[in-house]
Assembly symmetry: C2
Homo-oligomer: 281 residues x 2
């Protein structure tokens, strides 16, 4: 493992004490911008020191991190690298051009980390005595999906289930928008609605579909084990849900603008559900 | 007034039947990208056919619109121009290079409109027998502000009050993010917190400040006339509010991630407030 030491010119990391990014890793990082490679390798990338610190705070361990010593806050990058190394992660440094190729944005502030996709056991998840699940259908925008995951973490959502057709939750932009939420909330993806309904029915988790009709969400006393099915902004949920035994709920709203952003709808529902699960409620 | 007629090649507007965009208007449109010019001229710009249709639906009348016949859906642009002309708006067409200079984004889909800033009488607003106001403090991101205005329209907010230091609600990006909400919800800006407190106290509107402590927002029975003071994501509300007679409320959340996005917080509060004002509630 490379050892990172402070020294050299004030505030500048001595590049010579770090391991240069191998060509094979650079190639891997470029590939991980595609969903195909992420799924094949079960790896994803989180960019920027803030997100990496969130990951560490959540107990996640990067497989390796890459810093670009000339970019970002040298002191902060040093501390981050030391914290990652202490958890057994490899630390590489990249020249600016290589880092630019490895990173998805120009705002990575000199650090990115590669993480194993967390493994979630669906059976254990569905067996929990209290449960709040989000099932997302046709959510296509990575920023929206990341924001939903962020809110999932804020409101103690136990899991986010993505139906086929949703954007990849491990997309770089979705990871950034989750602001660390991805390290707290289990995500299961590439599911069919049939699989989800089968699991909910077997486990006795009640299915609430959010739409423009149905009961006022604020008037409902949800059972301890609840799943909210929420559709993407453009298309809503697929017709499947209209043909199954589900409970329709809606967020009351005026007719002044079209339907709410999916992330806002998820935030409202999760916030109210979280409030309802608190002991004092 | 220029008359727009269909004809010519299939699906292409005959540019010759429309008035070319005068140089002075192009200069004005370029200037309106700055807040200074918008405030001086009390004008703002909405881009894209969808937003312009929302404006018409809300009863707004553009001072003039500019189309770029080669861009976007010709049929749709034609209908839009006809609808605007029917309301007495001037219709100009611009060559692609002029249109590019006039527009803020490359996603304008061949249409933009210039509108008078709506005039709101604060005295009449504060005199309403039922009232839901949002007071925004330190909201710096135009996308966030626009999303909040959109939600204001969705949840029948009577007015959005912006304290000095907030981003301009008539910023092009904020207008786009409002998705037409700006045509439904009055916005008062450049206010000091002292002015707002004075108005709320005089009118008997109760001030609820949203933060990380205070009573659970879902446990509150709000009075008919209520104002919610919400701080921006990075800084929260300014210290002023901690020294005044306000009621603190919070949205219960876990400690997993940092504070909610201001737009999400506003959405949750406005949704719950709207539910509570419905007759059946």
């Amino acid at each position: 493992m490379a050892v990172v030491q402070k020294g050299g010119e004030a505030g500048v990391l001595p590049a010579t004490t770090m391991t240069p990014l191998p060509k094979a890793r650079l190639k891997q990082l470029r590939a991980l911008k595609t969903r195909k490679a992420r799924l094949e390798q079960r790896l994803f990338v989180a960019e920027g020191p803030t997100l990496l610190q969130e990951a560490l705070r959540a107990g996640a361990r990067p497989a390796y991190i890459v810093t670009c010593p000339g970019q970002g806050d040298a002191e902060r990058l040093h501390e981050l690298a030391a914290a990652c190394a202490a958890r057994g992660a490899q630390i590489f440094h990249a020249e600016p051009e290589d880092f630019r190729q490895a990173a998805d944005t120009v705002h990575s502030q000199g650090a990115l980390g590669v993480f194993d996709m967390p493994h979630t056991n669906p059976a254990a998840l569905f067996a929990r005595p209290t449960l709040t699940l989000l099932v997302l259908d046709n959510v296509r925008d990575p920023g929206n999906l990341g924001t939903i995951v962020r809110q999932g973490a804020a409101f103690a959502c136990d899991g986010v289930l993505l139906l086929k057709g949703c954007v990849d939750a491990f997309n770089h932009k979705a990871i950034r928008a989750s602001m660390g939420g991805i390290f707290h909330v289990p995500v299961l993806d590439e599911l069919t609605p049939e699989q989800v309904m089968e699991s909910l029915a077997s486990a006795g988790v009640w299915p609430y579909v959010t739409g423009t009709k149905g009961r006022d969400v604020f008037a409902i006393h949800f059972p301890p084990r609840t799943a909210f099915i929420i559709g993407g902004e453009a298309e809503g949920v697929q017709p499947f849900w209209g043909e199954r035994d589900v409970i329709e709920v809606s967020i009351p709203q005026s007719d002044k603008v079209e339907s709410l952003n999916a992330a806002v709808a998820a935030g409202i529902i999760l916030a109210y559900r979280y409030h309802a699960t608190l002991p004092r409620a």
